[in-house]
């Protein structure tokens, strides 16, 4: 039903292909993992499923940043905070599910509260034993934070590098806060030792497959939503705000509302990514709030190509795969490679991989048109030149109205 509407909107072919591919992956990969025996050459090993499930969550996070940065021009260096908040909400649900199977056998309190001598569950943990409540919180908490932060920031017209720095301050403050053991979120050990999700064992291959599929499907949903938003009128407004905020304001639009919408939506998507990430990785920990993590997300988006929708997805998967590969192949030197990658991408691939591809394609089309002149040639758009406005005659007699 959504697909039909998207296609009806005349969505770009590339995005449609991508969506189809994601849906296919969501079905095929878990099937190959669960249904085939391990010695079959087509069998996908479990660790690959887990790994790529993680990459898909990162891809969704990068996509959310693309919505805020590529389309609204808000470079948020604190998107990791929304990711982590969504992750914590899911983590709290998973902790409540452990029940009395924890190390101390306490049915109410998670382990870390027991050995810190807490007597009862703090009020903000109530409700997290229900999945629907946790799901709402996954959407609500990052969204609410983004809304408040954005409302304050955009209304005061904080822009550019200043905005980026205060998003860093936000995520750093959250990092410090969640590290504190008396906050009741597990301190620096975070939330871990999960057993079940929705009744299914978190570690079984079936659940992993299901989580992988869910990640792929939510990524597809994210792409669809982003594509719809950016191709709508609102999307055009976002691009206008990104490129010329003052001018948009002077025409009569309210850039702060547009930015607020984009920022909040992107935070909600990041929260969903975090929630899917946590059961696959098995731990959520305050270092997800670290400013360095958020900067890495920006790199993924930059590598893939910001402002394109599929770019950040590709960028996230590629860079993380490269990181996984480097830390095994060159354990002593991989940071050099990563740093060189960042520098190379910003210098030589300013529009990212997908951007470069698009540029090449359109360049090829133009070159072909220039060389040819046959039916391939693009339609000549009529160029209307304004009649040259001559300078007002320096006629001292006729008074000129003041400018």
């Amino acid at each position: 039903m959504i697909t039909a509407r998207i296609l009806a909107n005349g969505l770009d072919r590339r995005i449609a292909i991508f969506l189809a591919a994601l849906v296919a992956i969501a079905i095929v990969v878990p099937a190959l993992n669960l249904l085939l025996p391990p010695d079959n050459p087509l069998h996908v090993p479990t660790h690959v499923v887990a790994l790529f499930g993680k990459y898909l969550c990162y891809a969704l996070l990068a996509l959310s940043l693309d919505l805020a940065w590529g389309f609204c021009g808000i470079l948020s260096l604190g998107h990791g905070a929304f990711f982590a908040l969504g992750g914590y909400a899911m983590g709290m649900y998973l902790m409540r599910q452990i029940g009395s199977r924890g190390v101390y056998g306490n049915p109410e309190l998670p382990d870390f509260m027991v050995f810190l001598n807490w007597k009862e569950l703090p009020w903000y943990w109530y409700g997290f034993d229900q999945f629907w409540f946790a799901a709402i919180m996954v959407l609500l908490v990052p969204g609410l934070l983004a809304f408040c932060f954005g409302w304050l920031a955009f209304r005061s017209r904080v822009t550019g590098v200043y905005l980026s720095i205060i998003t860093q301050a936000m995520t750093y403050a959250l990092l410090l806060a969640f590290f504190r053991n008396d906050m009741g979120f597990g301190g620096n050990n975070g939330l871990t030792d999960f057993k079940d999700i929705l009744g299914f064992n978190v570690q079984s291959a079936g659940t992993r497959g299901a989580l992988f599929a869910a990640s792929a499907l939510f990524l597809a949903l994210g792409i669809a939503v982003t594509a719809t938003v950016t191709r709508s009128k609102l999307g055009k407004l976002m691009v206008a705000v990104r490129d010329a905020e003052s001018r948009t304001r002077f025409i009569g639009w309210r850039p702060e509302r547009i930015k607020l919408f984009g920022f909040t939506l992107s935070a909600v998507m990041a929260g969903v990514a975090g929630a899917l990430y946590v059961p696959q990785v098995g731990i959520i920990n305050p270092s997800e709030f670290a400013p360095a993590n958020s900067i890495e997300v920006v790199i993924w988006t930059a590598v893939g190509g910001r402002g394109t929708i599929v770019g950040p997805v590709i960028g996230a998967v590629l860079v993380n795969w490269a990181k996984s590969w480097f830390t095994v192949a060159l354990p002593d030197m991989w940071l050099f490679a990563l740093g060189a990658l960042f520098v190379a991408v910003t210098l030589f691939l300013p529009r990212g991989i997908v951007g470069m591809w698009d540029q090449w394609r359109s360049g090829r089309k133009d070159r072909r048109a220039a060389r040819g002149g046959s039916a391939e040639a693009t339609v000549e758009t009529p160029v209307v030149r304004a009649k040259s406005v001559s300078a007002p005659a320096l006629d001292a007699a006729a008074p000129q109205p003041a400018e």
Partner: protein, 538 residues
Amino acid sequence: MTSIKTVLAALVALLCLAGSAAADDAAIRAGLAKLATAKGFAEIETVVRELGATGDPAVAKPLAALADGNLYVRKSDSSVFIGNEAGGSLALLDPVTGSAAGTAAKGEMTKIRVNNAVRRAVREAAGSLTLGGEDAAARLSAADALFLKPDPDAIEALDAAIAKETDAAAKARMEQARAAAVLVSDRSEAEKSAAIRLIAGLGSREALNLLTGFEASASGALKEQAAAGISSIGSTLMAWDGAQNVWYGISLGSVLLLAAIGLAITFGVMGVINMAHGEMVMLGAYTTFVVQEMIRSSAPGLFDWSLAIALPCAFLVAAAVGVAIERGVIRFLYGRPLETLLATWGVSLILQQGVRTIFGPTNREVGNPSWMSGGFELGQLAITWNRLWIVVFSLAVFALLLFISNRTAWGLQMRAVTQNRRMAASMGIRTPWVDAFTFGLGSGIAGIAGVALSQIGNVSPNLGQGYIIDSFMVVVFGGVGNLWGTLLGAFSLGIANKFLEPYAGAVLGKIIVLVLIILFIQKRPRGLFALKGRAVEA
């Protein structure tokens, strides 16, 4: 006849003296010999107390050596010597006279081991010994030791010392020590009351310590008087605590200023946030390490000058790296501040890994020269030398930058480019050169900051990461393009942090400061001292 008698008397006297001196010497040597055979720290402590009880000032030398870990026993004949490191072996000195007694290989000698209890015993023994010494400073420290550990048996010795004391400071201290001793003795109430009054008047923490200990075991009028003394000291100390917090805030602010000012300059002129700024600070700290290593191996005497030598080196190293980054990377990203941010992040990763590969990932030892160690008291304010020097240094750097910015041609060009790049270019200023110069200057200042910061913290590849967030906060808070903004921003953040810390704890204090900055930016989106003008756009 009379003359012969006097001569004989003198001779006898001399002989007696010599005899008694020899007798004293023998007692000391017997005691030291016991040290050689003592088993376990408790026995060593007993011997130390015995030696101290002899009251002979000559005991001070071997006891000091013992506490410093320089007293050795020769394995072959169990004789005791003071040993000083000389190349690979030990230069031996006689423990009593201090005269040279040859050398020995380290394998031939066993060090007499001490623990904290023994060191304490040595300090107490030495304290009472030097009360009648020749050096006024020694007498003062002896009085100090007796004040901290009052001994009722020392009252007579103190009385005698006070009577013939000429140095005012030493005399006052001795009287305080006497008062402390009176408190723990069984002298009359009147004497004790006078003692309490004297001690309460000191208003110091040690005085509080003494009175609290006394009050716990006293009764009646004395107890009340002691309690009154305690509360009066308490309120004095509270006032001093406030002042102390202000001092801590200033010193934290000076650290922030040093770290952030380079960033403020580059940000102001070029509009780029240099994420590799922290690594420039790190490079400065490592330069200090390298300089100190070279001095340690080739010219140990120059150690106290190591920081002065390291300063220009650090500046040059960091500035060179900064200019290289600017020419190699940032120049091509002109006009795209957000891409520059990302590219410099990549550079910072490379620099970190580079340092890690060359120097290893562990902390490196950067020593404090003697003039940077220790502290002094100003009233009840404890001021440490390293922090004081850093405050002075940061203000000096600030003044220097102010001078460069306002009084030199380079500075003029920098300010012009900050305010309106296009216009400046139209006026003939070569903006690429200004960019390179600015980046080099900012990085060089960061390098110098690294020299200072190496004195108070770790030197490891992660050093930069610890300062980068704080530098950003200072720059954003203080505003861009104005050095005074950075100064004010740094000091206010430092003081705010330090005032919150005793109430909210270090972590919560920092969080509150961050939230306040976020809220402040809503009010003033461009910081405290914002640049005004139409040309100033995002």
